[in-house]
Symmetry: C2
Subunit: 466 residues, 2 copies
């Protein structure tokens, strides 16, 4: 960055740490044309998946409650609420769209840090991009760059930050959202440092909320707070010069360990976007390997629910830590019960939004099978792996082993499955024809002069008036 770097020196406060400064400098100077084709392709897959999961979540009671509040609060018609079509303020739209994108627990995952990056980033980026009349390329650049920034912040404080109990989609997610919003607002680099500082000091979200609606609130607030940070910075609102790395800043306060070198390591050459997986199941990514394993028992070994005396699941200890609820009471809590997830995988062969409902969680046959499933922590099992041993009522035993769960970077979702997932979520909201049209529009995102067509295609058709 030689000459350009020194020319840009005036952009930065001399108290900003070098790693933060290099990250911001890279974020600001990286244009769409700097992005390799495979990076753009990966971004388009994640953005398409985002539209699917966000549309799938728009009628969840959490999304509807938030929408009700935001209709009451009102706002300038700047940006669109996905599905419902309300035009409201940037921050309102980001809040609801962020909630609906996460409420099904079906959004993408940066496997190394269990960060769900695209929800908060797109919540802010789409709202700001629509408002400011940005192009498809602007959106792709903002998504890619913000994802690299958010995942590097997430890496810098993982695992201590997450282990302490922080929901990093709320915390690092706010950083990502602010970055995307700042780029789409065309802030100067100095303002971008302030926007990131405001994002850091607004970062929030506790894992205690897993299983309640507030888990998705974290993502909605990350989107809205990130957008607010950019808007404030654009008007000269200031944050501390070293908000991430300073003595009382984000890394020091919110993590017992940090590795700031990750902030700038591999920028522009190693792309974290390739380490983001797309989920086949609408629950925490840690429960995916055991779900895969039980589905294999069903499809490859022909095991039926009534054959099962018990199933022993050998899983990474994190699976028990995160999804160890024994008796989930609601659909949301079901996502945090690996025994329940395994039960529906055996009964329905699926673990989608339809399975994670209050009715299914309390259904007697589900509860009976769930109670015959015994998860067991095994430090020798990797976090993309699982072993399932079914003891059958006839006395025999079936054993399957998963080595790379579906949806992980090592076992990525095929384009066909991605489209099927998208249409499965979007068609019930938009109708099949419009869902197809939205998919086709998203496929040529880099050609769009503005985001209007994309946004219009993501609004549920209104019934014709009499």
């Amino acid at each position: 960055m030689g000459d350009g770097r020194s020319a840009r020196a005036g952009w930065f406060d001399d108290r900003t740490a070098d790693e933060t400064r290099d990250l911001v400098d890279w974020a600001w100077t990286t244009s769409f044309d700097d992005l390799p084709g495979e990076v753009v392709a990966a971004s388009k897959r994640l953005i398409l998946d985002h539209f699917g999961v966000a549309l799938g979540g728009i009628d969840h009671e959490a999304s509807l409650a938030a929408l009700g509040v935001l209709r009451e609060l009102g706002g300038t018609a700047q940006s669109t609420v996905l599905g419902h079509g309300d035009r409201t303020s940037v921050t309102n739209a980001a809040l609801v769209n962020g909630i609906s994108s996460h409420v099904l627990d079906f959004d993408d995952t940066h496997i190394a840090t269990i960060l769900h990056p695209t929800g908060p980033i797109m919540a802010a980026a789409l709202a700001v991009g629509e408002w400011r009349g940005r192009s498809g390329r602007d959106l792709l650049r903002a998504h890619v760059v913000a994802l690299e920034v958010a995942t590097r912040v997430s890496r810098a404080i993982f695992p201590e930050h997450y282990d302490a109990g922080w929901h990093n989609s709320g915390t690092s997610g706010t950083i990502g959202a602010a970055t995307a919003a700042a780029l789409l607002c065309e802030l100067a680099p100095g303002q971008l440092v302030h926007a990131l500082g405001m994002a850091a000091t607004q970062a929030a979200g506790h894992r205690e909320q897993f299983g309640s609606m507030s888990k998705s609130l974290h993502v909605g607030k990350a989107g809205a707070n990130g957008a607010l940070a950019a808007l404030l910075a654009a008007r000269g609102f200031t944050a501390a010069p070293d908000s991430l790395q300073g003595r009382r800043g984000m890394f020091s306060i919110m993590s017992t360990g940090s590795r700031p070198a990750t902030l700038r390591g591999g920028l522009g050459s190693e792309w974290e976007i390739f380490a983001v997986g797309i989920k086949p199941y609408s629950c925490g990514v840690v429960a995916h390997p055991p779900i895969d394993a039980v589905r294999q028992l069903r499809t490859e070994r022909g095991v039926a629910p009534q054959d099962v005396a018990s199933i022993e699941l050998r899983v990474n200890p994190q699976v028990i830590e995160l999804t160890g609820k024994q008796e989930p009471r609601t659909g949301l809590e079901g996502k945090f019960s690996v025994a329940f997830c395994a039960a529906i995988a055996m009964l329905d062969g699926a673990a989608g939004p339809r399975q994670f409902s209050d009715d299914v969680v309390t259904r007697p046959d589900v509860v009976a099978l769930r109670d015959r499933i015994h998860p067991e922590a095994d430090p020798g099992v990797g976090n993309s792996q699982a072993v399932a041993v079914a003891r059958l009522v006839n006395g025999s035993e079936e054993r399957v082993e998963v080595t790379a769960a579906s949806g992980t970077p090592e076992n990525p979702m095929s384009t066909e499955d991605l489209h099927a997932k998208f249409l499965d979520l979007a068609a019930p909201v938009l109708g099949e024809r419009q869902a197809d049209a939205l998919l086709a529009t998203a496929e040529r995102l880099e050609e769009l002069e503005s985001l209007d067509e994309l946004v219009a295609a993501s609004v549920r058709p209104q019934p014709a008036r009499a």
Copy 2:
């Protein structure tokens, strides 16, 4: 709480910890008529002071930047922005009013935990109370109860939480704001638990931001996020049942130690509101004892700036920790430099908003005197105490000792001084006559049927049109 308690058992989830439950139960069942007269009187003093400091801050560049953003975002005309008179959404009004109430660092302080309780609480309470047509008594009850809740949460995690680097006016402040908003929205107790949970998981704000505008953003966001939590809870949005005390909840994540017993200790008999001080100087409360000491050198010993060879300040170690900036560059940073504070106390005999400006901080005579002032940490000096030893150019020495800083509960501000502080802040905005009228209205707060008169009196008169 015997019978009533068991009748209310159905209100609570059985997973909510007893201490949280008792606190919520007390908050919900405590009416205005339950409040002792001295408690109401203390609340009225703090509310009057709030109007003064918030009006004093409305034209600060931080308040104006936020106002600019919120005018752009727009919102339903529910609540009023103090001073400016914009009518906007509850959350927008809470955000700007919270920022303006804290940006001068002149708002009240819960001395034991360095929490500034009334800013975030009133930011939410006034906005919700105006919108919902509540009375003066409703506002007083909400302020008192929310203050007891916020200070008890603050006590439960002090000092570990604050020492780690959290700005508890942002964190515990969000809890206070949500409580006030929930009471004024007349939520059911079960919803109040969810509102507190959403407040806990939105709680944010790092001490790294001290000296930047984002310090006041914490208070504005506490008010807005607390109000949002109440509005969401009113529509059935849920949080975890044990968001404060649960294993991955606020106390565990945001503090290395906690004492949940403080949540319910002394409720209704020991009032934390009596432990809240009103500031005579517009900077961190820890710098008040040395400012008092230097003012005594000036007024009681007749020391003039040109007499001073050097001043040694013996202060509590926290003073150095919090206000140890050697070379502040801006007015905001000046608040975090005890040497600068002492210099202006000697030069101007005051430490008000006029002194904490960029111009004063960099004035050559101020810098020259500041560099002759040497603060020194002394664990033997209490946090309301200070010793100043001036070495004079004529070779003699003057020594003064402060045992209870002005504005602390042991040395409270007189009503006359409170009124003078209020008028000094409010009159330049409202004009003297209207400032007097606002004071008179606030004095009979418990008689007001609605808050409209109070709010109208706090809006700057518009110039008559030609």
